[in-house]
Structure formats: C-alpha cells, structure tokens
C-alpha cells in the first residue's frame, strides 16, 4: 500500500505523461506534414507554386505546378458560401437572441445544431441529386456542377456555425445595454442596430471567420458538386477545383515520395496554415471579448 | 506558557509574485477563543488566514517566509503534511460553497475522503455535526435533498457542519457572514460562541460590530502589517494606536 503522497505523485505523473504525450502527437502530426510538404520547394520555386496558373503534374515532359487556380477555386467557393451564409446567419442570430420567445428558441437551437450534424457527404448527395439539376435548368447550363452550386451547399454547412456563435455573442451582451437604449425611447430594431450590433461586431466577425475556416476546409461537398475542372475559373458558372478536392482526387493515384506526392502535401500545408490563421484570429477576438464582457 | 498558544505567526511575510501582501506578521492565537481579524479591504486579512491551512499553496505565484507554528511544529516545515493539517484546521469561506450533492453527502464528504466506510459511524457523525451547527432540526427530514435548496444562511451553517465533521482543532472563517442577512448572521454568531467552547476560531470580518460582539481578541491589520492586537474590549474601548482609533471611529475603511 502506497502512502497518499506517493499515490498522488503517481496519479499526477500519469496525467502529465498522457497529456504531454498527446500534445507531442498533435505537434508531431504537423511536424510530419511540414517536413513532407516543405520538400516540394527544393524543386519548385514558391513563385511557380503559388502564382503559376497551371496545375498539371501529370503532363508528359513538362509538368506544371501552379496552384493559383486551385487557390482561386477555394476562395471563390468560400466567398460564395459566405455571401449566402452571412446575411442568413446574422438574421437568424438576431431573431434567436432578440426576437424569438424562450420556447421558440429552445426548439430552434437544436434544429440549427442538427444542420451542423448532417454529414457533408449527405449534403453533397443532395447537391448532386437536387441542386445541380435545378441550377443547370434555371441558368440554362449544360450541367450544374460548378462554383455556384458548391457555394450554396457549403453555405448551408457554415450557416449553423455563424448562427450559433453570433447568437452566443449577442446573448452575452449585458442587459443594461438593452434597457438603456429602450429607456431612451428607441424601438427594438433601433436598439439592435444602434446599440447591440456595434457592441457585438467583433464577435460577429469572429463567427464569420470560423465559418470561413470551415468553408475553406470542406472537401466532400466540393468533390461531389464543384465540377473539379482544372482550368482557371472565370465565373461562378464555371466548374472549380478547390485545394481540398484536388488533394482528395489525386492523392490515391500518385507514387509515394514522388514530387507530385510532396506537392499535394504542400497544398495540405497551405490549407492547414490558412485555416489555422483564420481560426486563430477568430479565437483571439472571442478571448478578448470574453475578458471585456465579464462583469 | 507555551501550551497556551495554539498558533503562532513568527515574522511571516507573504508575496503574490513581486507584490508583498504581508510584512513581518507576529501573532499569537489563543486556544478556545475567537480571534477577529479586522481592517479595510485588501489589507491582507484573508491572505493571513489562508496561510494557516496553506490554501495559498494553490496559487503558483505565492511565496511565503517566516514561520507559522501550530502544535509546536512549523506548518511550512519540511515534514509538514498539508492534508493532515487541513483536516485539523477547517475553513469556512466567504460565500457559502456547498458541493452539488445532498445535504448528507456534503457533511459526509470529509469522512469519505478519509476512507471511512462504516455507514453507522458516518450517520452518527453527520447528525452530531449538523446538531452542533444548529441545522439538524431544519434539515433532518430532507437529508437527501440537494444542498442548493437551502437558504444562504442554512448553506453557510451546512458548510460549518461540514468542517465540524472532520473534528478540527481550529476553524478559520473568511468573512462568513458577508453574504448573509442580519437574521442569518445572528444565528451564525450564536453558533460561533457555542463552538468556541471546544475549538479555536479565527474569523476575518469587515463588520466591526460583529468583531465586538463575538471575539475575545482582535487584531487590526493595515496594508499587511499588524497595527494593534489585544483583547477585544480593550481595543474597542481604548485603542492604543491612533490608526486603530481612526478606523474604529469610521474615519476610513
């Protein structure tokens, strides 16, 4: 039988070891990605890689390694989804936090979370079976697998993120703000627009950033409905191939350790850095707000 | 006359990081008496009693020097056992902090963490502790109810019962009545006078009338230094120090 001091020490040691081990695993993941991906740049210059418009690694003789069209594909799709999700998300958040009654809210919030629970592959399926035929018909296109269709579906995916974070931000505003504004004779909408919205703005930006992070990283939906053509897109009716889809399509066909393989890891690294930065900014904003609004 | 002193602070200093909170405190606490620590907010009263059961150890940047002698041993000495110390020196906090368990389990908590298994003994001790804390008659029909259902005053008496269940030698109280109404406060004060027959009590209070009503000794702290320490009636009727007099007269604080 140990005395309690030894026992405590052992338990503390157990948690520290597991904790530190897990942290090392997580660090290891990104060290591994980094080492594999960064190797690309010993053979492809960063300028060719980031600014080259042609991605054609399999071309006989003279392969090209430019990911600009892939980046633009990602950005177009992310932008399109936010154009749809920001107004809808904010309206939803304002409705939930300021207008809906308690009962309605209790019912709607789980429903919004349910949307977040739908696997992306299922939404992709809806995109293929329903939305892309619809879009091709409405706009008279030969097929509906393009940036627009994927933007709409990804927009639906990021909607719950934007709604629930913005709603949290609005609800956490002190009631004094509301009372002070109403007591001056403002209507409820004036109160929302002139008092709550400015106070919540940074938090709402954070919510949008988080949504952006999700949109950039979405793979299945774009793989299924974005069309995946390699050419540089010129409009939302063109098929696009975002970075995530490109990795998913090509990774199983490349030779392990080849330059192509490494270049796909480099794209993975780009994705990682982009999402990490976006999430980081959003996290900092939310932390700062939490400190500011702790009464 | 060594045995007549329960706890002795010897030149105790205390720092949070680089900020010094206590300066060379020398203080003797007498057994089976109530000693009140009074002084304006931020003068180091709470810090001082938290040194006694080493609660300050939980703060990583805290640093202490000097000695605190309890039962002839330095509680910060090399061989000191914090767990044993905290069993002997109970504490009641500023805000009642019952655990989210039943009333019974709250009082039995200290016994269970000492691995007491015998259900009958636990029952007995829970009952006697609740009786000592003047709470038994109010809760005896609902020992399995959540402790959060009790009023603030009842919750605080439950916390006292919880501390008593460990059969401590000393009880530290950190402004135990500051969140209670006058009636609940009066009940606690009656209770403390009863408990002092068996235990030594150190109480931090910002309420001078309370210190006057219940304590045997009073200690006036200002900016981390002891300004005056004497028998309560003496201090309140005839303070030696001008600073103490100003404080008692309500000049500041």
């Amino acid at each position: 039988m140990f005395n309690y001091k030894t026992k405590e020490k052992l338990i503390g040691l157990f948690f520290s070891t597991t904790g530190i081990m897990t942290l090392l695993i997580l660090i290891g993941i990104f060290a591994f990605l980094f080492v594999t991906g960064i190797h690309t740049f010993s053979e492809i210059t960063p300028t060719d890689f980031f600014l080259g418009e042609q991605w054609n690694p399999a071309a006989y003789g003279e392969p090209s390694w430019g990911i600009l069209s892939l980046i633009i594909g990602t950005l177009m799709m992310a932008f399109g989804s936010l154009v749809m999700a920001i107004p809808m998300g904010l309206a939803g958040a304002i409705y939930l936090s300021e207008i809906a009654g308690t009962k309605t809210r209790e019912l709607l919030k789980p429903a919004i979370e349910m949307i977040a629970g739908i696997p992306s592959v299922v939404l992709g399926l809806i995109g293929i079976l329903f939305l892309s035929p619809l879009i091709s018909q409405v706009f008279g296109l030969s097929h509906g697998l393009n940036a627009l269709t994927s933007s709409v579906i990804v927009g639906i995916m990021v909607l719950p993120t934007i709604i629930s974070i913005s709603e949290d931000v609005l609800t956490s505003l002190p009631n004094e703000f509301r009372e002070a504004s109403l007591a001056l004779g403002a209507t409820k909408w004036q109160m929302i627009r002139m008092t709550l919205f400015p106070a919540a703005l940074s938090g709402i930006v954070a919510a949008i950033m988080l949504g952006l992070g999700r949109a950039i990283g979405e793979t299945m939906v774009v793989l299924m409905v974005a069309g995946n053509a390699m050419a540089m897109p010129t409009s939302f009716f063109d098929p696009v191939r975002p970075m995530t889809a490109n990795i998913a399509i090509e990774i199983k066909e490349v030779v392990t350790g080849s330059l192509h393989y490494e270049a796909l890891f480099a794209i993975g690294l780009v994705l990682f850095v982009m999402t990490f930065i976006v999430n980081f900014i959003s996290d900092i904003i939310i932390e700062n707000r939490a400190r500011k609004y702790k009464w | 006359m060594r045995e007549k002193i329960k706890i002795e602070f010897k030149n105790t200093g205390f720092w949070y990081g680089s900020k010094q909170i206590l300066f060379g405190v020398n203080l003797k606490i007498y057994p089976k008496k109530i000693t009140a620590l009074i002084g304006p907010s931020g003068c180091g009263k709470s810090t001082l009693i938290r040194c006694v059961n080493r609660m300050n150890d939980l703060i990583p940047i805290a640093k202490i020097d000097g000695r605190i002698i309890y039962n002839n041993e330095d509680i910060y000495g090399k061989n000191a056992d914090i767990i044993e110390l905290r069993k002997k020196i109970g504490m009641v906090f500023q805000k009642p902090n019952p655990f989210p368990m039943s009333i019974f389990d709250n009082v039995a908590y200290g016994l269970r963490i000492q691995n007491m298994k015998d259900k009958n003994i636990i029952k007995q001790i829970v009952r006697s502790s609740l009786e000592k804390a003047d709470l038994w008659t109010e809760v005896k029909d609902c020992l399995n109810c959540s402790a959060f259902g009790l009023s603030g005053g009842q919750q605080q008496r439950l916390c006292i019962a919880r501390a008593l269940a460990n059969d401590p030698d000393v009880i530290l109280m950190d402004e135990p009545c500051s969140s209670l109404d006058p009636i609940a406060t009066a009940k606690i004060e009656v209770l403390l006078k009863k408990i002092k027959r068996e235990k030594t009590i150190i109480i931090v209070t910002h309420n001078m009338q309370q210190a006057k009503r219940i304590s045997d000794y009073s200690c006036y702290l200002l900016n981390g230094k002891i300004i005056e320490y004497s028998k309560t009636e003496k201090m309140f009727i005839n303070p030696r120090n001008k600073l103490t007099k100003d404080y008692l007269d309500g000049m500041f604080g």
Binding site: Y4, L23, L26 | -
Partner: protein, 284 residues
C-alpha cells in the same frame, strides 16, 4: 417617410422568414433523403451483405458494421487520451503563458480540415507505420482528428466547475486526486460525455479522410482483424452517388444516407437530452 415602427416590422419579418428558411432547409434535406431512400430501407437492406453485381439483391450491413467498428476504434483512441489531456491541462498544468498557448493551439487544431488529417494518416499510419489501408489506420487517423474536439469540449466542462468546489474540498483535507475524482469529474461528466458523443457522431459522418486510409466500396467479408480494409456508410454512399452505373444507385445512395443520418441524429438527440438534463440539474 417610413415610420420606425413599420421599419422594425419589415426587418423583423425578414429575420423571422430567414429563420424559417433555415429550418426549412433542414426539413427539406431530411424529407428528400427520406422520400428518396425509405423505399429501399427494409430489414434486408440493414442486415444483408452487399451484393456487388446486382445491388438490389443485397444490403449495406457491412457498411453499417464498418462504421460501427470505426466509431469504436475512434472512441478507444481519442476519448481516454482526450479526457486525460484535458484533465492535465486544466487541473495539473501550471496556469502560465505556455499552457494558455497550448490550449489556444488545440482549439485551433479543432478547425483544421479533415482532409489534412487524412493525408497525414495516409503518409504516417498507412505508409510509414506500414498499417496499410486498414481499420486501425482509419481509427488512428480519425482519432487524431477528434482529439482536439474532445480535449476542447472536456476542458470547457472542467473549467465550468466553480473553483469554490475545489477549494472547499482541499480545505477539508482532500488530496488533489480526491478533489478531482469526487468533486470535479462528477460535475463535469455530462459535459465531457456530450463533447465525446458529438465528436464521435461527426467522425462517423466523415468521408474525406477514410477515402485515403482504408475505406473500400466493396469487400466480400466483414473485417476480421484491425488490419483489414472495411466498408463504411459515408464512403459507400459517396461512391454510389458519383461513380456507380446501376440505375438503382441513386435510391441506394439515399437509403444509405437515411440510415447514416438517422444514426447521427439519434446520437445528437442523446446529446440534447443529456444537456437538457444537465441544465436542469445544474444549480450553481
């Protein structure tokens, strides 16, 4: 000149209709899947082996089973590690800049795209550790992906336990572990479980990473060891939707989606129930 009141009315009606639209999208997705897929979902569909030649002859049992095994694998990898790490970070690690940075980094890892974990799994577990495309490689990959989610959720529930419970316990002479065991974990348990179940339900719907580490559209037998390839519902419906030539593929894809969504929603409902219970019980 429009009065403030009519303006307010117009805006509020707009907000309300947006909300109705969001819920309508959810309902539409559910009804679409149900309408298109319910026709093929019957007992045979749920319990039969997949028939490769004539898809109407078989069922998706191996895919359901594969997803189930994957869920078990992911739980084994990430739940204990995640909870222990959260306990370490919140209860044992010194509260300093390093710890705060680590917590921040972990929260951000939770937002890293699943495909990034996928290529890592392929390169590290499948190729470097030579596990190949297998159940264990997929479990480890998805396990790594869910770890940050579970750590973050658990850490948040541990942080929500008021410090006064810890202090009260220490003051009664409890040791650190006694305090954690009797006065911290019990009060954060529901929250930790909620996070774990949500993480798991998300992992079950993930498709991109498992494409790379062992999910396959068809194998004739159920996986018999962790080193076997496996079928999984999300991957199954992806192939049916995009690469299958059978005229019934659409219906079967929707049927598979229906089963998958039903499963995930059941887990989600469990979470809502747990959370509701927690909120009712929570008195501090």
């Amino acid at each position: 000149m429009v009065s403030e009141h009519s303006k307010q009315k117009i805006y509020f009606v707009f907000f309300q209709s947006t909300m109705i639209l969001s819920v309508a999208i959810l309902l539409f997705v559910l009804i679409f899947i149900f309408y298109g897929g319910a026709g093929v979902v019957n007992l045979n569909f749920l319990v039969n082996m997949w028939s490769h030649r004539e898809i109407t002859q078989g069922g998706i049992f191996p895919a359901i089973f594969g997803t189930f095994l994957l869920a078990v694998g992911v739980s084994v990898v990430s739940i204990p590690l995640g909870i222990c790490t959260a306990i370490y970070l919140n209860e044992y690690a010194k509260e300093n800049l390093l710890t705060r940075t680590i917590k921040l980094a972990i929260r951000n890892l939770a937002g890293v795209p699943s495909i990034v974990y996928g290529i890592f799994g392929l390169a590290f577990f499948a190729l470097f550790l030579k596990l190949g495309g297998s159940l264990i490689a997929a479990s480890l990959t998805l396990g790594c992906m869910t770890l940050p989610w579970i750590i973050t959720a658990s850490e948040e529930s541990l942080k929500a336990v008021p410090n006064s419970f810890r202090e009260g316990s220490y003051a009664l002479g409890a040791t650190k572990w006694q305090t954690i065991k009797t006065n911290v974990l019990p009060h954060s348990f529901s929250g930790i479980m909620t996070g774990a179940i949500l993480g798991l339900s998300r992992a079950m719907g993930e498709t991109a990473p498992i494409i790379m580490v062992g999910a396959t559209f068809f194998i004739a037998h159920l996986p018999s060891s962790p080193f076997d390839k496996f079928m999984a519902m999300p991957y199954h419906l992806y192939i049916l939707a995009t690469q299958h030539s059978s005229p019934y593929a659409r219906e079967y894809a929707l049927g598979t989606a229906l089963v998958l969504v039903a499963l995930i929603f059941m887990l989600n409902l469990g979470v809502f129930a747990l959370r509701y219970n927690l909120r009712k019980k929570k008195a501090w």
